[in-house]
């Protein structure tokens, strides 16, 4: 048997990590829903063992490097490479280059606009699309992308192809990228079927704590207490700085954040509860979140896991995909974990100006028509304090952090 043409040695499916090969070959447990548990790092090893350097390469494509006028000699080199890989003659390789050229696939003539659907088409897809376009033309006054669509697209693509300024921050070849969906904790009735979530891309070599630090949740920003007499002192104590404990739960193990002395083991109550009556959950393990990278984990793709912080703010976490990094991905390691999708939340506006996002909420407010009532900072101060900053009237004021803060 000839060697694998791209030098991957993949012709013979031998597992490079024999001991881990069974546990790291992802396969369905429930079809279309989730896989069996497998080891992330070993899975990456399996792929790398099957692929050649050229598959994993993150360098610029050759065409961009070489000047266009070197075409003839280029072709010669290419032909030789093709002949070598496929085991055919040089003439055959040259012929292949012509026969299989991309120009053989061109369907539009010069000048033809790809936006316009050609008239006499047999393609069903195009007929369907034409129907939609006609419908749009009849019913819609302005045909353009709405804010949300633009937003989603920009979130998805903003980092694509970014290269680091410092070459040391370049992602290594063969690195894994995991897509992690983090669901929002509060689920309203209208989200019965579509759970809002944000999607992050993390690298296999990153620590769990790096993901934890990049998860934005309003409960980290809450400010406890009533501040009607001293509104200027409010923003000093946010929950994130006060309550630093958190854990991830993956496959029977609680990964607790223990980076700071004041961190508590949030998982202890759960484990004690589970063990006290032998509830059939088996033995849970605990580990330190900061000691583990994603490559070290055993996970099931598509399976719901948990991130818990602030004592009881619980986010379901789903790892939807793992793949090798590609040349077109964001290659700047410092930009990961990379947010690629975010749910757009409706913000609560100030009751007075109806323009800015609320920063304060009041109860028993003699000036307010509603209880509770929301204000932006400017309107709140203008309404409730005189020019010297003295409190007017009776009210209780609490700092308010809107869930839409991260929009």
């Amino acid at each position: 048997m000839a060697e694998d043409p791209l030098g991957g040695g993949a012709g013979c499916p031998q597992h490079p990590v024999p001991s881990a090969s069974h546990g790291s070959f992802p396969e369905y447990e429930l079809p279309e829903l989730h896989t069996r548990a497998f080891h992330v790092g070993a899975f990456g090893e399996l792929w790398r063992g099957r692929l050649g350097l050229r598959d994993l390469s993150l360098s610029e494509p050759r065409a961009a490097e070489q000047p266009a006028d070197g075409g003839a000699s280029d072709n010669g080199l290419d032909d030789a490479a093709v002949a070598g890989d496929l085991g055919c003659s040089l003439e055959a390789a040259a012929e292949l280059r012509v026969v299989c050229g991309l120009d053989k696939l061109r369907c539009l003539d010069e000048g033809e606009d790809p936006e316009v659907i050609p008239e006499n088409t047999d393609l069903v897809t195009l007929c369907v699309r034409k129907g939609l376009l006609d419908y749009r033309e009849e019913n819609i006054t302005i045909d353009r992308a709405c804010r949300q669509e633009t937003f989603v697209y920009e979130m998805e693509s903003h980092a694509l192809g970014k290269k680091p300024e410092n070459p040391e921050d370049m992602i290594g070849e063969g690195e894994l990228i995991l897509s992690v969906n983090i669901l929002y904790p509060v689920i309203f009735n209208k989200h019965r079927e579509h759970k809002p979530y944000q999607t992050m891309l993390v690298l296999g070599s990153q620590k769990l704590t790096e993901l934890r630090d990049s998860i934005c949740c309003v409960s980290d920003l809450q400010i406890g207490g009533e501040f009607s007499s001293t509104p200027d002192q409010a923003p000093e104590h946010i929950s994130k700085d006060l309550y630093k404990s958190a854990f991830f739960y993956f496959e029977g193990t609680f990964y607790n954040d223990k980076r700071y002395p004041e961190c508590r083991d949030l998982s202890r109550t759960i484990i004690e509860w589970s063990e006290s009556h032998d509830r059939g959950y088996g033995k849970f393990q605990t580990a330190r979140m900061e000691d583990f990278t994603f490559n070290d984990l055993n996970i099931k793709l598509g399976f719901p896991y948990l991130y818990c912080h602030q004592g009881d703010c619980e986010h379901v976490v789903v790892i939807t995909d793992i793949r090798l990094v590609h040349h077109d991905d964001c290659l700047d390691r410092t930009l990961y974990p990379l947010l690629t999708k975010k749910h757009w939340l409706w913000t609560r506006k100030c009751f007075v100006c109806k323009m800015y996002t609320a920063r304060w909420v009041t109860n028993n407010d003699t000036f307010a028509p509603e209880d509770p009532c929301f204000f932006c900072d400017v309107c709140f101060r203008m309404l409730h304090y005189d020019s010297e900053g003295n409190k007017l009237g009776e009210f209780l004021a609490y700092p308010y952090v809107d869930p839409g803060t991260f929009n």
Binding site: M1, A2, P5, L6, A10, P13, F25, Y28, L30, E32, L33, F38, L46, W47, R54, D55, P61, G87, V99, C100, K104, R106, C107, L108, E115, I117, P118, L123, V124, T125, L126, C127, V128, G131, L132, Y135, R136, N139, I140, D143, A145, C146, E149, Y153, L160, N181, N189, K190, H194, G302, P304, V316, D321, I322, R323, L324, H326, H327, D328, P403
Partner: protein, 389 residues
Amino acid sequence: MEIPADAGTRPVGPGTLAGVGTPPGLQTDCEALLSRFQELDSVRFEDFAELWRSMKFATIFCGKMRNLKKNMFTKEALALAWRYFLPPYTFQIRVGALYLLYGLYNTQLCQPKQKIRVALKDWDEVIKFQQDLVNAQHFDAAFVFRKLRLDRAFHFTAMPKLLSCRMKKKIQQTEVTQKFKDPNDRVMKLITSDVLEEMLNVHDHYQNMKRAISADKSMPDKALSLVKEDFFDNIKNIVLEHQQWHKDRKNPSLKPKLKDGEEDSKGTSQEPERCERAVSLAKIKARAFSAVAQVSKSRRHRQAKLDSSDSDSGSGQGQGKAAKKKRTRETAAEPTERKRASRSRGNAQNEQKEEKSLHLSMPIIAEEEEETYDFIEAEFTATKRKRKR
């Protein structure tokens, strides 16, 4: 070519992102291209490119798709084409799918280009295929694959698609297009009608010989009765039974229907399922018997072919093919629905799964006022409508 019923009539929410799943019509188009390629009986890229150009297949990306939609459409198209590139499809279809991937990947309008997702479990199969291509000296196909790989057209992934535990209204079933499928039944390979015919001949010959040497020329001597008289009928029945079982297993209720559609367009679609099975069983039997009886020894090779492509008996007849295919589609549409219903009723395991995902869903908390803006991917309209406020 006809447009699916919901194309023009139902306003599927103009500009909606159409959620997940294959865009309407795309599968029809791809299969049309592949089946034309199949008819050509060729694996040459030149022939494929000719078809591609005559169908103007690259224009599939035309028509005012905005960036987000364009990306999604391209992803889906590549994923769809990829499916035909893997077993159980025939060698020729797989080559066609490879060319199709090559075409779609290189003519897409996305910037940067969308990639083809390859799952780890499929890769060994792909490499084996590449090796087969080289060994069989199909250099154009091997060249195309090599080029895709060099262009880094692939995302090397864990699974074919993104997985998520979310509640699903319906799980999309990917049907294997029978026409493109490689028949891989080993029993049927072993005992072809060829073999059956041979057996019958030998058996007859044996009986005749026995009669010839017996005292009574009309009846073989009792002492010579060493094999069961009816062994041939038995083995034939067993083979038929197996054939039927194999089909039933592959395609619980769809298959008998399909057969019906092919054989008899008047359609016994109202008939109850069980009756149908009996009918189609009888038909297969009748056909097998008649074939074995009729075909002379000299035409044996022709017959073997006819039998092995049993499931697409119509494909040889070129002309009536398009019509036949349409008919099959129509009959197939209804049972698919019924199948879904019956499956969710009957299959306890499935039901459990459904329930399980229900348990996974979040508690329902009484809503406050206008809380979060519901940004549902599948439903948000991508275009600005006249505001009603």
